[in-house]
Symmetry: C2
Subunit: 275 residues, 2 copies
């Protein structure tokens, strides 16, 4: 017998991955959580039947969320990650020597618990002394913060279930308030093949609040269409004007300083969404 | 009842697409040919159970095969497309006003026949007077050509079945001979997530023959991993040194002059394959 997990990425298209075993399955207080061991991708975290991360390709998403804003900011010290309970973004954040404190606010403690258990290569750095983990509502945390963070990263699920508030204009306004005067915000904003309207909406909402708003992309093979977008809002620093000497030597598998710039060169049909 | 077509992109991973109807299915002299009407992607051409092209995303592949070398060459006049029986590359080639003749050598006439019937938006330009269509073996055509083409594009299937010869060093040597003294060659060279060894091999084989060898990528959602590579071999002209004024105004949905450069900025794990 062979078991396959299929994610319907739209009503009529999906990906399918052969399963060696189901490691855990649970309805948490917030979502359905499954952890599979897959043949192709190694251990795979699935929330509400959507692939969140896998051992084999996780580096793309986590590096591209973290290193683009952290190189754009000249000296990021205090970082907030909203969501991201698997710990992958935190692991990349900690590669930056200027970072003194990284706060993770994840609404679902079970995501942290089972990532630590089954994805230790990703979640291991959550134990670092510079990291503070809060199991809490990211929307509320943002609402209660003011002039506090250099960079805020929103590593959420799709805008369904617990993350729906994280794609609202009120949330972006709260983020702006929670950031320092030269702060930077980045969020994952889904894919342009199936969610063009969402990207258009988020981009223009963020643009109303942040003087510098830019979209960039990365290839994530287990995410819908393989082409993922990130929307960045910045008060002062422009990701396209990072000085050569700002780029740090660090071990990465996807991010390079050349790719930092190239990721902002959008396919025409994606660029059109920003106009 | 609902029918789904599943392509196993590896032994343990694949994509699956809901089918409205099967338009045609046939074992040709060379391969299994299926044409499906899908819900998500429109009409879809499948050869030996691998998606070749779909109405919705075909523009990415066809634009990126054609426009990168054709902007790199200062004045491409005579073009050869090996494979590419769906006609999509030819359609893009004809957008360049310098092109006087485009020869298509496709081994399987059935691909041309059913593309014209079911993918007319893609194959329609095969009727253009500048186009010569030959149903013939591309490998043999190359072997018999000398100092003839400005640009040769290899739009083949994977290196199984009829295309296996098109991934050999002897073929690249033949292409060099078939090209003029400042000619350029480009081939699709699969994806770095599942076929890293192939890319490494082809890149280094091409590099032994062409002074300028470069890899570039594009996002093709219906191809394995969504990240596709193209390998370019050039005798003189460098795709990274195209003069600003060389870029033509033309209608595209993916290619832009910014993306022309950005496509060569490789993810670190892909760049490593070229070293």
């Amino acid at each position: 017998m062979s078991l396959w997990f299929t994610e319907k990425q739209t009503d009529s298209f999906g990906i399918t991955a052969k399963i060696k075993q189901t490691l855990h399955t649970e309805q948490t207080d917030f979502q359905k959580l499954d952890m599979y061991e897959t043949e192709e991708w190694g251990n795979m975290l699935v929330l509400d039947d959507m692939v969140m991360t896998t051992k084999k390709d996780e580096f793309v998403y986590h590096e591209m969320v973290a290193h683009v804003p952290l190189h754009t900011h000249p000296s990021p010290k205090k970082i907030l990650v909203v969501g991201g309970g698997d710990g992958g973004v935190i692991r990349e954040v900690l590669k930056h020597p200027s970072v003194e404190k990284a706060v993770l606010v994840e609404i679902d403690g079970k995501v942290i618990e089972y990532s630590k258990k089954y994805l230790p290569e990703i979640a291991g750095k959550l134990e670092d002394p510079r990291v503070e983990v809060k199991v809490d509502d990211g929307f509320m945390h943002i609402a209660q913060s003011e002039n506090e963070y250099d960079v805020i990263m929103v590593d959420s699920t799709e805008p369904v279930g617990p993350a729906v508030n994280l794609f609202s204009k009120g949330f972006y306004a709260g983020i702006s308030k929670a950031l320092k005067a030269d702060g930077i915000f980045v969020a994952q904003t889904d894919n342009p093949w199936f969610k063009a309207d969402l990207i258009h909406q988020v981009y223009h909402d963020v643009k109303e609040i942040f003087p510098i708003t830019r979209l960039y992309t990365a290839n994530i093979p287990t995410y819908p269409s393989g082409l993922w977008t990130f929307t960045m809002g910045s008060k002062i620093h422009d990701p396209l004007k990072v000085k050569e000497e700002r780029f740090q030597e660090m071990e990465t598998k996807y991010y390079t300083k050349e790719l930092h710039h190239a990721a902002f060169a959008l396919p025409k049909f994606v660029k059109d969404l920003t106009e």
